[in-house]
């Protein structure tokens, strides 16, 4: 009984720490408003308002589209202007959502552009190149996703001012920062996955869905009026709860029934389908931004141009990861986790309550995954399906690179994976960045299958 109480108290403590860490953006949010000439919040509202105008029309189109066939072409269009008037020569690439390029468009003399897409569907419009001295209002989100039925659909992409990135070296530095940011988020989500494997031997294919639940619950709380900081805490709690329920309600009883690991693996796959498509039913297929911090003015920090939001994300991730590492190294439960991961039977026979340790790993790992999801959603957008591709695949690459079952290995491996993913963009097409990270995975398996930090043991 007291063990349960302590486990509960510990998970509350973990959650509380995360909440405190999440409060940081509130402080940071005040800074850019003063620093940037264009208020981030206003820009945000502008773009959101624009989208709100468009949405009903687009949905009507979709409805019509089901009844009649494509008599009319689907056209995306927009206008670029800044303080000096219309901007000519903005190059755009248009792609199917999550997919590859369909073609390019360039804004004309009056700042206008248009592009005919093959038919109704979801498309991503990316700003490929800007004329000199012109910058997007939010340089990190140079892609806008739109849904189009038939007819014309305006694409909300707004210009602002800021430091432009030019040249390969600058791009390299920029992508290094993005890679660090992305790697830290992958690391945060991968620690739980790796420790669950280390303590139970189970590869949890539903871990990506825990990430999603964190992000999506935070989105609903955010839309209901909660500030993102609080909404994020709600999302983290929901993810921790989901993970706890999966442990107590599914995997512990099944292990007691003597269900084998192979079967449990198939169970995690079934659960990931159930969770993912329940989220689809409630959240819908479109990707959505959070109400705060979606658009921010870029500031210069040394050779990097970045947004305060990203700096805060990096700071939160670093603090949390260092906290987790310290906890695993120093605290009693952390030592117990390492002992169980090392040798379950030996740990059990020396008096460690293995089930309790596993519970803590699930709940803390779930909370970390949820936080990773919220940060990912803040950085990009929230959608129902980013949990599998790219997140779960990159987590796998990270933990195999670092050494399956270790916590520090998962962190280091994920950082490498994040950097590889983002730096590949400097030289190779953007849409293949996940493929490069997974290429690294295959090479590691060939050369050093136990991973960077894994022990040399027989794993064949």
């Amino acid at each position: 009984m007291s063990a349960r109480v302590r486990a509960f108290a510990l998970s509350i403590a973990v959650l509380a720490t995360l909440m405190v860490a999440l409060l940081a953006p509130a402080i940071a949010a005040l800074a850019p408003a003063a620093a940037a000439p264009l208020d981030a919040a206003t820009g945000d509202a502008l773009i959101l308002a624009q989208e709100d105008d468009e949405e009903p029309a687009a949905e009507e189109d979709e409805d019509e589209d089901e009844d009649e066939d494509e008599a009319e072409a689907s056209v995306l269009f927009g206008t670029f202007r800044n303080a000096d008037g219309p901007v000519e020569g903005v190059q755009l690439t248009i792609a199917e959502t999550g997919g590859s390029d369909l073609g390019e468009a360039v804004s004309g003399e009056n700042g206008q552009w248009e592009f005919e897409v093959p038919g109704p569907g979801d498309y991503a419009v990316t700003v490929a190149a800007l004329p000199e001295g012109v910058e997007l209002r939010d340089p990190d989100n140079n892609t806008v996703e739109v849904t189009i039925g038939t007819g014309r659909r305006a694409v909300p992409l707004a210009l602002g001012e800021g430091a432009a990135v030019s040249g390969k070296v600058a791009l390299f530095l920029q992508q290094t920062l993005s890679g660090l940011r992305f790697g830290l988020i992958i690391a945060m989500t991968a620690v739980g996955l790796s420790l669950i494997f280390g303590t139970t031997g189970l590869i949890n294919f539903a871990h990506g869905e825990i990430v999603i639940i964190g992000a999506v619950v935070a989105w609903f709380a955010n839309i209901a009026g909660l500030h993102l900081v609080l909404a994020g805490a709600v999302g983290v709690a929901a993810a921790a709860l989901t993970a706890g329920v999966l442990d107590r309600g599914v995997f512990r009883p099944l292990t007691r029934r003597g269900v084998g690991l192979f079967q449990l693996l198939v169970v995690t796959i079934g659960l990931s389908l159930v969770l993912r498509f329940i989220v689809l039913i409630f959240f819908g297929g479109r990707s959505q931004p959070y109400a705060q911090y979606a658009v921010q003015q870029r500031i210069s920090v040394g050779p990097f141009a970045t947004t305060p939001r990203d700096l805060v994300i990096i700071a939160i991730a670093l603090v949390v990861l260092i906290g987790v590492a310290t906890g695993i190294q120093r605290s009693r439960i952390g030592k117990a986790m390492r002992a169980v991961a090392d040798n379950r039977d030996l740990a059990e026979s020396s008096g460690i309550n293995v089930e309790r340790v596993v519970s803590v790993v699930w709940i803390a790992g779930g909370a970390l995954a949820g936080l990773g999801g919220v940060l990912y959603g803040t950085m990009f957008r929230v959608s129902y399906d980013f949990g599998f591709q790219p997140m779960l695949l990159l987590m796998f690459a990270g933990i195999i690179l670092g050494g399956l079952g270790t916590a520090y290995g998962a962190m280091i491996g994920s950082l490498v994976v994040g950097l590889v993913t983002e730096l590949s963009v400097v030289y190779f097409p953007n849409e293949l960045k996940t493929a490069w990270a997974l290429g690294v995975l295959v090479i590691v398996l060939l050369v050093r299958p136990q991973g960077l930090l894994g022990r040399r043991e027989r794993i064949g």
């Binding site: 079934g270 498509f277 039913i281």
Partner: protein, 328 residues
């Protein structure tokens, strides 16, 4: 609610070419998972290379269809060797992760912009099977009670189910042979098989190639039946459908994949049509009325069914519980 329409439509897809393609995938998976104990979560990758083998040969390079079929099958062999070489010596979980990752990477590669001149990128490839339909012997479509198929579908349906029968026979004969007994020995106890002097790695590789090529046959027929190849048809869910089919029918059984495919598609499309009809007559609560709800609710049910089956009846309908005591 029009129950006759639901039943007809469910039965139509349960016996259609798509169910036969999935039966082929599941037969391949049966060789991996059922008989050898390999957790291949990337069966859709084999399907993809089979389909693109046909598509690229015919639509991009203008080669005859039979060349495309051979290219598709060879691509399956090559993929199996590339996948197996680094991972089959490792523990089963490494294999599972690598297969799922490689299959998804293949999809991303084939649908990417730079690959467009060859694979058609996100637009895919069209009219890949004109030669196949040019020799269609059917002048009238098949009619059976409430269901009927067009002449084209009838032709691909007969050929695909014919291949399913051939594949079933082939696997049944192979598994009765000494070769098949070694595979099962590896599944039961890898170390014991090794101790008896069997080259476990080599047997696993042969099993991976055989099952993979059967998956590629499924891909080839998938390309031919639809006459198009599009990367987005090859999402990771396909592999999970194949697992559901295999476990439903019974892994390590001869006709499990066939029965599983028929039941799976009957239920899967039955649920979808029912949800759509209930949406039409406003029988559903608000949250289930969206456009996504039809496919999503069927997938939720499928995921739940997969979990329940694995937990409560891992041997499926026909399986023997004494077989398949898999434990990593």
């Amino acid at each position: 609610m029009d129950f006759e329409a639901i039943f007809g439509s469910a039965l139509r897809s349960a016996l259609g070419p798509q169910a036969a393609v999935y039966a082929l995938l599941a037969i391949g998976l049966n060789v991996h998972y059922g008989y050898t104990g390999l957790l291949n979560f990337g069966q859709v990758g084999f399907m993809l290379v089979g389909a693109y083998g046909v598509g690229i040969s015919v639509a991009t390079f203008g080669l005859p269809l039979w060349v495309g079929v051979i290219v598709g099958l060879l691509a399956g062999v090559v993929l199996a060797i590339i996948l197996g070489a680094p991972t089959l010596r490792l523990r089963a979980d490494y294999f599972a992760i690598t297969t799922i990752a490689v299959a998804e990477v293949l999809r991303l590669l084939f649908r990417s912009g730079p690959a467009r001149p060859i694979t058609g990128g996100p637009f895919g490839l069209q009219s890949v099977a004109n030669e196949f339909y040019a020799i269609n012997p059917f002048t009238r479509g098949i009619r059976m009670g409430p269901i009927n198929y067009t002449t084209q579908v009838s032709w691909s349906l007969v050929v695909t189910w014919g291949l399913v029968a051939l594949a079933t026979l082939l696997v049944a004969l192979l598994m009765r042979s000494p070769w098949g007994r070694v595979l099962r020995a590896i599944r039961e106890d890898e170390d014991a098989a090794r101790a008896l002097g069997k080259n476990v790695f080599s047997y696993k590789m042969q099993s991976l190639v055989l099952g993979g090529v059967l998956g590629s046959v499924g891909g080839v027929m998938f390309a031919i039946a639809g006459s198009t190849v599009n990367a987005d048809s090859f999402r990771p869910q396909i592999t999970f459908y194949a697992y559901a089919i295999l476990i439903l029918g019974g892994a390590a059984t001869r006709i499990g994949p066939i029965v599983g495919a028929i039941i799976f598609w009957f239920l899967f499309s039955g649920v979808q049509v029912s949800v759509r009809q209930m949406q039409g007559s406003d029988l559903l609560p608000g949250f289930l009325s969206g456009a996504n709800a039809v496919g999503a609710s069927a997938l939720v049910l499928m995921g739940a069914a997969l979990v329940l089956l694995v937990v409560f009846r891992p041997q499926g309908i026909f399986g023997d519980p004494r077989e398949l005591k898999l434990d990593a």
